[in-house]
């Protein structure tokens, strides 16, 4: 499978670049709040955040796409969409917990296909967010509200979309990666 042997390193890099994206897009959105009061003294720094957020969005999206084949087969098809694999892993963990005299992991439904569908929701929102970040980058360079106040609604709206989709992607990505990582299967 494409880059399967580098999947862990790619996932780590994907997570680090995503952290930069969440930080930059959140700062950019928060700094835009001054524009509502007509204050543009921080516009230069805000434009820099918009550029960093856009670059980080494209990089995160690209790295995520490199990881996607491995996720699709090894995680989605072989685990989330395979109840027998989830049940077998649960039984193995129960047996190991008993061996170590640890309390049994939480027993829940074996069907984890909802996690795969939740991940799909995230994938679509980040694709839209990535496009919005490029539109925001263009606006920050060529049509900033500092020069024309009529652009404020569009600028703030796109900033909100970029930060919102970045946060959505980060939170759902962490939720997905937490399965098999912390405690029981669910």
């Amino acid at each position: 499978m494409l880059l399967e042997h580098h999947a862990r390193a790619l996932l780590l890099l994907h997570g680090l670049v995503a952290a930069v994206l969440v930080g930059a897009s959140t700062h950019q959105l928060l700094w835009c709040r001054h524009y509502l009061r007509g204050r543009f003294d921080r516009a230069r720094a805000e434009r820099r955040f918009a550029a960093v957020a856009s670059a980080a969005f494209v990089a995160t999206f690209f790295l995520g796409n490199l990881l996607y084949p491995t996720y699709k087969v090894r995680v989605r098809a072989e685990y989330f969409d395979a109840p027998s694999a989830v049940v077998a892993e649960g039984a193995l963990r129960d047996s190991e917990a008993a061996h170590h005299h640890a309390p049994l992991p939480r027993a829940e439904a074996a069907d984890l296909s909802w996690v795969g569908r939740l991940f799909d929701v995230k994938e679509h929102w980040v694709a839209l967010g990535c496009a919005a970040s490029l539109a925001l980058l263009l606006l920050s360079r060529r049509a900033h509200p500092e020069g024309d106040r009529r652009l404020l609604a569009l600028y703030l709206g796109l900033s909100f979309v970029v930060a919102g989709t970045a946060w959505t992607g980060a939170v759902i990505g962490l939720v997905t990666a937490s399965f098999r990582a912390v405690g029981g299967v669910s």
């Binding site: 499978m1 494409l2 796409n65 996607y68 084949p69 491995t70 699709k72 087969v73 098809a77 969409d81 909802w114 996690v115 569908r117 939740l118 799909d120 929701v121 994938e123 679509h124 929102w125 694709a127 839209l128 496009a131 919005a132 539109a135 263009l138 606006l139 060529r142 049509a143 020069g147 024309d148 009529r150 652009l151 609604a153 569009l154 709206g157 796109l158 979309v161």
Partner: protein, 112 residues
């Protein structure tokens, strides 16, 4: 009128974003052929809903990027000559609505 007062760049960005959103969603609710990647065979192919494993995400993004570039460039050229506040308001409203509608469409279709 200065360049800042002529919002053709903003209108082009909006139409590009609207085109991206609509074209990205197009293969999901039409019988349009899409580009798929088969992760096991490691090959790209064009097809129609070929099953759960081949990934159509790349094709959807490609549809979106091509539509965004075409719509954005055409609008840039046209709106340079004539762009108004009303056109800007309309483009703003539709760009943000397109993101919300297409996002809601995929959320509804994949809701856990």
């Amino acid at each position: 009128m200065s360049a800042a007062r002529r919002p053709h760049a903003a209108i082009a960005a909006c139409t590009g974003l609207i085109a991206f959103c609509l074209a990205y969603a197009l293969p999901s609710f039409t019988q349009l052929p899409n580009l798929y990647y088969d992760p096991l065979a490691r090959r790209l192919f064009v097809g129609l809903h070929p099953g759960p494993l081949p990934m159509g995400y790349l094709g959807q993004v490609l549809y979106g990027v091509v539509a965004a570039l075409v719509a954005g460039c055409v609008t840039w050229a046209v709106a340079r000559r004539a762009s108004s506040s009303a056109a800007l308001r309309l483009a703003t409203a539709w760009a943000l609505t397109a993101v919300a509608l297409v996002g809601a469409f995929f959320t509804w279709n994949n809701w856990p």
